[in-house]
């Protein structure tokens, strides 16, 4: 911080400088906290089979419906399965699902949106109409329908979620592309005469990626929530494979006497979601250095 200029009270200058950097401080804290939370959950989940935990599928009716304790960190469910172990193993499925669906959708949406914005005209109109329809339609209905067509299991969930998510990236990218295209084309037309489309894409790509990456963090959260919802409803993952949403469904019948079965997996979902969201917030500030 520079020393206060002459004629300015020290306290006022201090106050002003503090306010100037406050934004950046919050964003940095956000980013690192988010990375920490996400890293811990991801690490634990990925390492789950090697941590010496109890078998997530092993039933132990003697210890059914046991509350959280030092022996069973998260308690056991109605079949005596260790919930902590199940939660970590489920993490592998949920986290991988969130990341894969998000980034596959991102790539698909980026390509379609970029091409749509670049070519414009009737192609753009048709694609954007479809995009608008997909986005405004209740996603769960679409995904449920696709799950019905493809059949039960994770495959239906993957296809369904990707079939809906790409549209958001397409719209985002197309908007950015329109803005860039106007600028680059004017420059090309004036100075170079005829620019190659390749130059446009090389220049455009960093800008296009920026907004998409920030949004992808929220999308990971949404997609994990969607898989959880699908499994809760009986589609998506089939029991006995552990999945966070499915575990919440399992615990519903014992909600009164064994609250931990439904509550704790949900808490983990929230924690993972908050982790990704914080990364998104931090990224948003870092990547958007256009001042205030």
């Amino acid at each position: 911080m520079k020393p206060p200029p002459p004629g300015i009270t020290e306290s006022a200058w201090l106050r002003l400088n503090k306010r100037a950097v406050l934004d950046r401080r919050w964003a940095t804290i956000s980013l690192y906290t988010g990375i920490a939370i996400t890293a811990v959950i991801a690490a634990l989940s990925l390492a789950a089979p090697f941590l010496g935990l109890r078998d997530p599928l092993a039933t132990d009716l003697m210890n059914a419906l046991a509350p959280p304790s030092s022996e069973f960190l998260f308690g056991t469910d109605d079949l005596g399965r260790d919930i902590f172990s199940r939660v970590l193993h489920a993490g592998r499925i949920d986290l991988v699902f969130g990341i894969v669906t998000t980034y596959v959708s991102l790539v698909i949406g980026l390509l379609i949106g970029a091409l749509s914005g670049y070519f414009g005209g009737i192609i753009d109109t048709i694609i954007m109409r479809i995009v608008d329809l997909v986005i405004s339609f209740p996603f769960i209905i679409l995904i449920l329908t696709i799950a019905a067509i493809v059949g039960p299991g994770l495959a239906g969930a993957y296809i369904g979620v990707i079939a809906v998510s790409w549209a958001l990236y397409a719209r985002l990218t197309r908007g950015e592309m329109l803005a860039i295209r106007r600028r680059e084309f004017i420059l090309n037309a004036e100075t170079l005469g005829y620019g190659t489309p390749r130059i446009i894409f090389v220049h455009a790509l960093p800008n296009l990626l920026r907004a998409n990456l920030v949004f992808s963090m929220s999308d990971i959260v949404l997609n994990i929530l969607t898989l959880a919802a699908l499994s809760y409803l009986g589609l998506g993952v089939a029991p006995p494979t552990p999945e966070w949403g499915e575990m919440i469904a399992q615990g519903q019948k014992n909600l009164l006497n064994a609250w931990w079965i439904s509550t704790l997996p949900g808490l983990v979902i929230v924690l993972a979601g908050v982790g990704f969201s914080l990364i998104g917030d931090g990224l948003a500030d870092r990547l958007d250095d256009s001042g205030r």
Binding site: I140, I141, L144, A229, L235, L255, A272, S277, L278
Partner: protein
């Protein structure tokens, strides 16, 4: 442009979308791998049963004829029969739609009650402590699965405190509203973070407008500036934000209906999918699509009525 012309134009705009929706709904049965009739009856069905079903559903006719029949029937609100319940789908939908509508309206009310004041607070106290707290709460609520929130509410208010029923619909007006309260709160908490984020951004944008600065320069109190000038402008964007998120709202309603066993369209859809009741799936896909189109249209209409710049 007059309101009538505006309506006509928006309807014409929606037509291709509606056509796509009918095509999509219609194709659900035909996209399923294998023979649709056999898939519906299961692998152990006899050949006669399959042929009978195929005839009953008109699956032996050419595709175009099937589509046209489907369209004509839909316009007459005839959606065929549910395989599972062996009853006409139309009346079932009508009854369930009423309940879903009540639930959705209640949910919108609750989410507005949560989102509007918090968005105002957050925008006015931008980057200060209040804003950060509201934003953290918003992120938290955003990450909570709707069905999990619902179960927590049930645990707290239904089971421990016994204020509300755990499932189903209540009798009488008070009972009905009471039974819809926890579901509506669940959906409200699910929708609120989405509304809050967009509304906060919109209010911040309005706050930096020159006419707001001019109002302050005229010595109007901050309260007047906020509640008369800013709010009126934000009301318009609030409608748009709601309209844009109708699909999200409906998705939440579908899930929550299942948690509380509310006999609405959402639980009907899920049951139909689990039971492979394809006529119902097709009918509901069509209906949900049309609902979204109507909702968007209504939002545009009210936008046109409220914003004087568009009314001309």
């Amino acid at each position: 442009m007059s309101l009538l012309a505006f309506t006509g134009r928006r309807l014409a705009h929606s037509l291709p979308v509606l056509v796509i929706i009918t095509l999509a709904a219609f194709s659900v049965i035909h996209l399923v791998p294998g023979d649709p009739a056999r898939v519906m009856l299961g692998s152990r069905a006899t050949d006669e049963a399959v042929t009978a079903l195929r005839e009953q559903l008109g699956l032996d006719k050419p595709l175009v004829t099937q589509y046209l029949d489907f369209l004509v029937n839909a316009l007459r609100l005839d959606f065929g029969e549910s395989l599972f319940q062996r009853a006409s789908i139309g009346p079932i939908v009508a009854m369930r739609a009423a309940h879903s509508l009540a639930l959705v309206a209640y949910s919108i009310l609750i989410s507005l009650v949560i989102a509007v004041p918090l968005a105002l607070l957050s925008a006015v106290r931008r980057n200060l402590l209040a804003d950060h707290i509201v934003r953290m709460l918003t992120t938290l609520a955003f990450c909570m699965p709707s069905f999990w929130t619902a179960l927590l509410l049930v645990l707290l208010f239904s089971i421990r405190l016994k204020f509300f029923p755990t499932s189903g619909l209540g009798e009488g007006i008070a009972g009905y509203i009471a039974s819809l309260t926890l579901p509506a709160v669940s959906i409200g908490l699910y929708l609120a973070p989405i509304l809050l984020r967009s509304l906060r951004a919109s209010i911040i944008q309005t706050l930096t407008a020159e006419y707001i600065e001019a109002a302050r320069a005229r010595g109007f109190s901050e309260a007047r500036v906020l509640f008369k000038h800013v709010l009126r402008n934000s009301l318009i964007s609030m409608l748009t934000i709601l309209g844009v998120n109708v699909g999200f709202l409906i998705s939440g309603a579908v899930i929550v209906e299942n948690v509380f066993s509310i006999p609405g369209l959402g639980s009907f859809m899920v049951a139909a999918i689990v039971q492979r009741d394809y006529p119902v799936i097709v009918a509901l896909t069509l209906i949900f699509g049309v609902v979204v189109v109507i909702a968007n249209f209504l939002v545009d209409l009210s936008y046109a009525m409220l914003d004087p710049r568009i009314r001309q």
